[in-house]
């Protein structure tokens, strides 16, 4: 026969523990839920001060519960609550504006500076591609159609007359300029992101993309230069090209950094090398999207309204000097910055 004991609370640790601390846990849960729903600004000063204390209380409750309690639901609850609180306290990025400010003041130029070796290689590859493309098309115009697609050429091929070619350079279409600029920007930005992502395959596709870009440029040059339009074509390209080609070069360099970090991790493990390269290269690449927005405006609006060579060169040069000094002008190192 089963015996019965008087109705007293069972002396289970979890029960005593819950009675002693449940109020703290529930308060922390309420605070964390509010931060998750809105932001840290939803808390007033008193709650902000209480947050880390409640978090530590809950963490120590978790440690104690794991060692002394067999109530699985209690432990699971404390685990998820501590994890959520941890990520609200330690894991959340700083505010978007602070991040953006830091990105333009330091993050982006420093990331680009760190890529200087890859940037030089990427630029050289582009130049090499241009020279090869130029020589190929000069030696045999048939190459042109192999390099530049029909829709890309838009009639600007070796058989076009000098007059028709001149028209493409100085005929500013006046309709839908802003739309044109926007579509140029989205198209180019997509290519920049793509060049970055392709770097993962040991950088080979990125390199090919850079060389191909140069080949197309060289092929077009080979169409315009023999007709005495070299200066005009360069100006047509220069106004936005200094920004656009620079951006593509940086994006390619960022991809290259990832590929080489995976192929040659050096002293780090492959994963550590990939992570370090990936994070800083992504910052550099993210910035090129903004550069390409500027290039899109210059190409879509600036080039169609500025029709003389002189101003085109002036704008292109000013942009180039601007970017170069923004990226590479030596800055005072932050006293607390990590040495690498």
């Amino acid at each position: 026969m089963t015996a019965f004991a008087p109705a007293e609370p069972a002396l289970v640790n979890a029960t005593r523990f819950r009675a002693a601390h449940a109020a703290d846990w529930e308060r922390l849960e309420a605070l964390v839920t509010r931060i998750e729903k809105r932001s840290i600004r939803a808390l007033d000063d008193e709650e902000l001060l209480a947050l880390p204390l409640l978090y530590r209380t809950t963490l120590s409750s978790l440690s104690v519960a794991r060692e002394t309690s067999l109530d699985r639901s209690l432990i699971a609850y404390l685990e998820q609550l501590s994890t959520r609180a941890y990520f609200q306290i330690y894991g959340v990025p700083t505010s978007a504006w602070r991040q953006l400010g830091h990105f333009f003041a330091r993050g982006w130029p420093e990331a680009v500076q760190a890529l200087w070796r890859e940037t030089i290689v990427a630029a050289l590859l582009g130049v090499a591609g241009t020279i090869v493309g130029y020589l190929l098309v000069r030696s045999d115009p048939g190459w042109f159609f192999g390099i530049v697609g029909d829709d890309m050429a838009g009639g600007r091929d070796p058989s076009a007359s000098a007059e028709a070619l001149r028209k493409t350079l100085y005929d500013g279409g006046q309709s839908m300029l802003a739309t044109f600029a926007t579509s140029l920007f989205t198209h180019n930005a997509q290519i920049a992101i793509f060049a970055f992502a392709l770097g993962f395959a040991f950088a080979v596709p990125t390199l090919m993309l850079l060389v191909y870009n140069g080949l197309m440029l060289g092929a077009m040059l080979a169409v315009f230069v023999p007709r005495g339009l070299g200066v005009g074509f360069t100006g047509w390209l220069f106004i936005h090209g200094t920004t656009e080609l620079f951006a593509i070069t940086i994006a390619g360099a960022a991809g290259m950094r990832i590929g080489t970090a995976i192929a040659f991790p050096g002293r780090d493990t492959r994963i550590d090398a990939a992570t370090r390269a990936g994070r800083s290269a992504a910052v550099a690449m993210g910035g090129t999207v903004m550069m390409l927005a500027v290039a899109g405006l210059l190409e879509g609006i600036g080039r169609q309204t500025v029709l003389a060579d002189g101003p085109r060169y002036a704008i292109g040069t000013a942009m180039l000097v601007g970017w170069l000094s923004y990226f590479y002008f030596p800055r005072r190192r932050h006293a607390l910055a990590a040495p690498h």
Binding site: A14, T15, E26, S73, T179, R279
Partner: protein, 289 residues
């Protein structure tokens, strides 16, 4: 060739990863399974497409209303679709919850593997990689079929390419996508869970008393299984478990299965916890009492 000789640990691989906070407590994060990840991605994809279609209809309606002269609408549409494609994941993951709507619905979040802040660089890196994981093969296929002549070989290549990256998470222990690898992140389960009732609290009635022999039958594993049964409150499960315990302990049936299990749970819990205090953790019924 060390990897050829690697011996695999027996049993299913655990998805729990040790994660020690600066305070020295291990939070034991649970990684998201590949199925969770795929479900979250599909949800996000559907949301993106639905948003895009809705926005396109809106722009078309407004264009018709303004007789096609509102250039600003076209620009907004172009920029909007660009941001939707490239910014959806990045912008949501940079927010406080570290999760896109799809991940939020499934109960996941993105976390830096080293436990530090999730930086903008990391989020941009992990999402830029989607370009080669998903969008490239898709647009490649789209382009090919738009040309009307899908070369079997090229299709195969596109599928193989996307396959490598798509199934990449299945080939590593931590379910890392290529983007996660580059960015130093991983995706963990992040479920909200309420504090369940205290099963051993005072219940305002007399409790049954059990003999030591009856309480020595089970260990912690069985205790926690019993906890699940009590919280589940399924009648047939409660009846079956109560009957099994009564038979084993040689107790008479007093008609109140749930009350019996509640009392047995509390008594067993007290006994096992007492063991813990003196350093005896009886893992399951096969361990010595």
């Amino acid at each position: 060739m060390r990897w050829l000789r690697r011996t695999r640990p027996s049993g299913p691989r655990s998805m729990t990863r040790s994660f020690v906070t600066p305070e020295g407590v291990d939070l034991r994060l649970e990684l998201a399974s590949a199925g969770n990840r795929a479900a979250a991605f599909i949800l996000d994809g559907v949301l993106i497409v639905v948003t895009l279609i809705a926005a396109t209809f809106l722009v078309m309606l407004l264009l018709a209303a303004t007789r096609g002269r509102a250039e600003i609408l076209l620009i907004l549409w172009l920029l909007g679709s660009f941001v939707l494609r490239n910014g959806w994941f990045t912008l949501f993951e940079l927010g406080g919850r570290g999760a896109t709507p799809g991940k939020r619905i499934i109960g996941l979040r993105v976390v830096a593997r080293d436990g530090a802040r999730l930086t903008g660089g990391a989020v941009v890196a992990r999402n830029a990689m989607r370009e080669i994981e998903v969008f490239l093969p898709l647009s490649f296929l789209g382009y090919q079929s738009a040309q009307g002549a899908v070369d079997g070989f090229i299709t195969l290549f596109a599928l193989a390419w996307s396959g490598i990256f798509l199934f990449f998470p299945l080939f590593n222990r931590d379910r890392l996508r290529v983007g996660d690898l580059i960015a130093g992140t991983w995706v963990v389960r992040n479920e909200k869970r309420g504090l369940g009732d205290d099963l051993a609290a005072g219940i305002g009635r007399q409790r049954r008393i059990f003999s030591d022999a009856a309480l020595d039958l089970y260990g912690i594993y069985e205790l926690q299984a019993l906890e699940d049964v009590l919280r589940g409150r399924k009648e047939d499960a409660v009846a079956a478990v109560a009957a099994a315990i009564r038979t084993k302990a040689g107790l008479a049936d007093d008609g109140d299965d749930y009350g019996f299990l509640q009392d047995y749970y509390a008594a067993l819990c007290v006994r096992l916890e007492r063991g813990l205090l003196v350093g005896r953790r009886r893992a399951d019924k096969y361990a010595s009492a």
